[in-house]
Symmetry: D2
Subunit: 349 residues, 4 copies
Amino acid sequence: MSEQLRVAIVGSTGYGGVELVRLLASHPQAKVTSVISSSSAGTPFSDGFPHLQHIREELLDDVDPALIRTKADVVFLATPAGVAAKITPAFLQAGLKVIDLSGDYRLKSPALYEEWYKKPAAEEPYLSEAVFGLAEIYGERVKGAALISNPGCYPTATLLGLVPAIKAGFIDPASIIIDAKSGVSGAGRGVSLGTHYSELNENFKAYKLNQHQHIPEIEMVLSDVAEKPVVTTFSTHLVPMTRGIMSTMYANIVGERTTEQFIASYKEFYADRQFVRIRPAGLLPATKEVWGSNYCDIGFAVDTRTNRVTIVSVIDNLVKGAAGQAIQNMNLMMGWDESLGLQFVPAYP
Amino acid sequence: MSEQLRVAIVGSTGYGGVELVRLLASHPQAKVTSVISSSSAGTPFSDGFPHLQHIREELLDDVDPALIRTKADVVFLATPAGVAAKITPAFLQAGLKVIDLSGDYRLKSPALYEEWYKKPAAEEPYLSEAVFGLAEIYGERVKGAALISNPGCYPTATLLGLVPAIKAGFIDPASIIIDAKSGVSGAGRGVSLGTHYSELNENFKAYKLNQHQHIPEIEMVLSDVAEKPVVTTFSTHLVPMTRGIMSTMYANIVGERTTEQFIASYKEFYADRQFVRIRPAGLLPATKEVWGSNYCDIGFAVDTRTNRVTIVSVIDNLVKGAAGQAIQNMNLMMGWDESLGLQFVPAYP
Amino acid sequence: MSEQLRVAIVGSTGYGGVELVRLLASHPQAKVTSVISSSSAGTPFSDGFPHLQHIREELLDDVDPALIRTKADVVFLATPAGVAAKITPAFLQAGLKVIDLSGDYRLKSPALYEEWYKKPAAEEPYLSEAVFGLAEIYGERVKGAALISNPGCYPTATLLGLVPAIKAGFIDPASIIIDAKSGVSGAGRGVSLGTHYSELNENFKAYKLNQHQHIPEIEMVLSDVAEKPVVTTFSTHLVPMTRGIMSTMYANIVGERTTEQFIASYKEFYADRQFVRIRPAGLLPATKEVWGSNYCDIGFAVDTRTNRVTIVSVIDNLVKGAAGQAIQNMNLMMGWDESLGLQFVPAYP
Amino acid sequence: MSEQLRVAIVGSTGYGGVELVRLLASHPQAKVTSVISSSSAGTPFSDGFPHLQHIREELLDDVDPALIRTKADVVFLATPAGVAAKITPAFLQAGLKVIDLSGDYRLKSPALYEEWYKKPAAEEPYLSEAVFGLAEIYGERVKGAALISNPGCYPTATLLGLVPAIKAGFIDPASIIIDAKSGVSGAGRGVSLGTHYSELNENFKAYKLNQHQHIPEIEMVLSDVAEKPVVTTFSTHLVPMTRGIMSTMYANIVGERTTEQFIASYKEFYADRQFVRIRPAGLLPATKEVWGSNYCDIGFAVDTRTNRVTIVSVIDNLVKGAAGQAIQNMNLMMGWDESLGLQFVPAYP
């Protein structure tokens, strides 16, 4: 290929941004040409990240759409909630494509956003134009879009685990209960007592029961797929590890279905997708089996005593749950194979 | 007090046995007079446990009921499944009181035991005579009993979290879903690839969905309390930490109940019990908040959107889930205050 | 005993303070009557520490020596560097005995303190009067003292491992190299990127090489024991765990000495002390073997090829390295057995 | 490029073998054509490694040099000590190039091998022909060789940290003390109580002081570089993490040297090498800064008080300490750029 896509990253000093840098370093058709941080502009990128010494020594750029347009074609926004809503219009107007990793463009209802995020919603027409980039479900819409809203980490693991069963009519959407667990990197790089090492090590805790801002995002897609309003019970827990999300999901089965039927149905649903792997009966995925990779692995256990199914779905929250899926969306936007530059083997052990 | 109760421990080389030694070391009215291991008899106890150097230097005894009767009044069995069923009769006939930490005397139905444990069930009349020592629920029956069956770790956390709501008629027993998580010490001291450090560190995995041998034990008590047969969905997960269990439990609410009503009801139910602590609304317990102690901490979140309650219950699996509750049962058997020698402050951080 | 010693703790919201509360809860002759925090005075103690729910529900007191004198006989200061120097005189003048867990009274030279701590040194005559409470070495001086300076965590592990060899003339003090490793709780409860969970988990790092403020404290005692000035090479590392310190120490042997001779010499040196345990030849201590206890375990490896000895010493940094040794000093001050209320079996696993 | 180098891996069920598979998956000029395990031949590779589902589904081959020669050009041996010595001659005779990751061909003296490994040494002429593949030091000899002995993990971190200082005459080789720490994956995939999760988590321990089989390998190279016999003090410790080695090294400085002089000297020494990164003064590397990559990062602290230098060197033990360096050697053997397929950005956090 003659030319590479030029990529800028805003929010390069958080975990999402630095993971984009790691993954894009081996992308065959894209290269990072600008790393941007409003808080650290003008300082060397590797100052805050010694692991990038010799790899990315350039100075951090400031948030300046006109300047960035001269250096890049696509910009990833890996910024805290509320920032993308403010800066996206200028990037789009400058002619850049935008992939937003935050929650700012995920909820189509401004009221819902403001209720769950406690911030002003993004403005129209951008909010309506943004495509929700859950690649395996809405990949067709991503192609050619100018503004992609990259899904949250919990929604990605959860929705990939639930959508096929709902589409197949195997489960009752009203009965869904989601018990999700995440490694600590999902909380970001900002320090707090809640993410202080001595408080979390050798500890397991529940948080934000029924209050997590990913709930409306999950319900938006479930309702879309079920073609009727779906509300869910959604719990989040913090695991003493850095990376990985597991969603353990429970639902009442409609009629009678075996584990093998679930497996067959999901294999068919994801037949053309490279990043979803369905475990054989009797095996359930563990988070480490996707560590560092863009895979989502899914397993099933049907309980005939209760006629419920338990679905277990795992991802690396920083890859498939953030930077990896964002690159997958970039590939789709560009009309490339979605797996380009993303075929990492999980790091094990 | 003039004399101390003399205590023997069979299975002193596993985690349950060695935790009994730790806890009993500070009991004011009991002392360990014999530590027993059939596999290591005749070798110094501290050979396998350098942390007991200078503390317990004696040689391990063999399993010999007549000899042990000369040294002890009560014997704790911290042995693998199937062992207690074989050796308990001889201990009882020798005049010892027995507290069994294994599953051998928990299930009253021999058929159920053999289905879930794949071993021959314990014999009568011992099986019928054994009292299920979930102290906060069946404490009255423990007083004066000669054979106590100490509950499993998952059932302890789960049942203490569910029983009051069922008794109060707040939840529908048929709707209960239990998502349980445990530290790795629950798997014992026997080595396997599944508990190999490099496989579990920075990993979170599900196992034995709907197949864990603690399921019939949980359903036995739930059915007893609900006064009708109850079946549940029960999932177990392994957390990369050593100690701690969390049961996250879901149920449909009967009528309308607030979080505050659950709290008030549980506080009343456990008003006389020292080891159950109910969190105020908005707070959920973390496993580290009970680390090394005999507490079971419980919190609630009612979701009005789905009319479900989420109940979170945590224990230290080796204390309230094993050795601590066994000592609590010993206290009750002897007619003592149940908290004698057990008032440890959790180790934090 | 008719009456209990009344104890106050300043700095109850840090790890040292909260560990004092845990350990003193089972002390037979002392009870905590006031927990003090200037930053959180007036709020319930258990607000910041849910693990203390039902155990310590009282409100936090302010730092008020006159008031505290009405409630307590002894005050522990578990405060950041610089605080004890300011508040100790008032406590002493009010008639309280003071045990300071910070570095403020450890260095007898004000200039040295100011060089290493970058703060004003404590004033005379208090600085001179303060007894350095390394109990196994200076225990005699502690008896009856009014102001005790409790040693640092690294110095405790290091000095207990080195002093006997120097006193015996077995090693050349000029050759000592100390490679120390600590769990993260040693950094305290204050949040920072350096103690952020995702940064430290699955990571091992060196810090403050030759610059740690515990260096002059170590050299002060080594020089005292060697009866000549001793300078050392001292490295500190952070281990991804919460509690535990290991000092691995290297020195050139004077003459020829076997591992067994080191062991015999140390056993004799610590013959009357309950908290130092010497490992037999071929065994080296691990930090978990003292977890939660006041023990310091020491092992040796003599290398005849290089004629050097390697000495490995481990403690729990929050117990023998802080709160436990402080209570040991309280016991000595009061003329009690030094192990009173401190005979915890290490928590294992 | 028209054709890819065909690679076989013996010992594919250990951590070294499976890491070769991960790294080679993205090599542009080599592809794995056979994965071999004598113990599991005929079973699907991904049976033991669910993370390889959909990635490497083929059956494991048996150890059959003639068959393997039809499928491969180069064979990596990631086998336990003693195996490579037996099977290497047949592979070489079949016309394959061999890169051995075990210790079997590292020590040129059979007597030394038998003393430290307690097994029969490899036979001549193979032992003499094998090139010790410490790429940054002996890379020239690797080019064109048929049999490479890949260095051990500890020697790699240690020697890269010491060789330039010895060559420059900056330190006294007789004074070297090496305090090394490793993540648990270095102990391999074989289960034992010593690598049981509950025993190692929240634990730090020393092992094999002065007895590790990597000592003669380190001294062989140090003596070669110093041009006189060098003996060292070498300690190993186990860190509760999966990957990463740190060697903290101490030596007496010859004359006077500043930290900056060490840095300048090392930068010059490694000027042409891509995988060694020298930290600026005041910064020391942490193991996570090289996690998953082939980098070795080195930092320095000169202490003018003792005239000693402390050198800190970190690697990922499974990459630069095993599979990564083996691929680097393959690249050199083939006359390719040594970094081909190895330019991974460290995974952070």
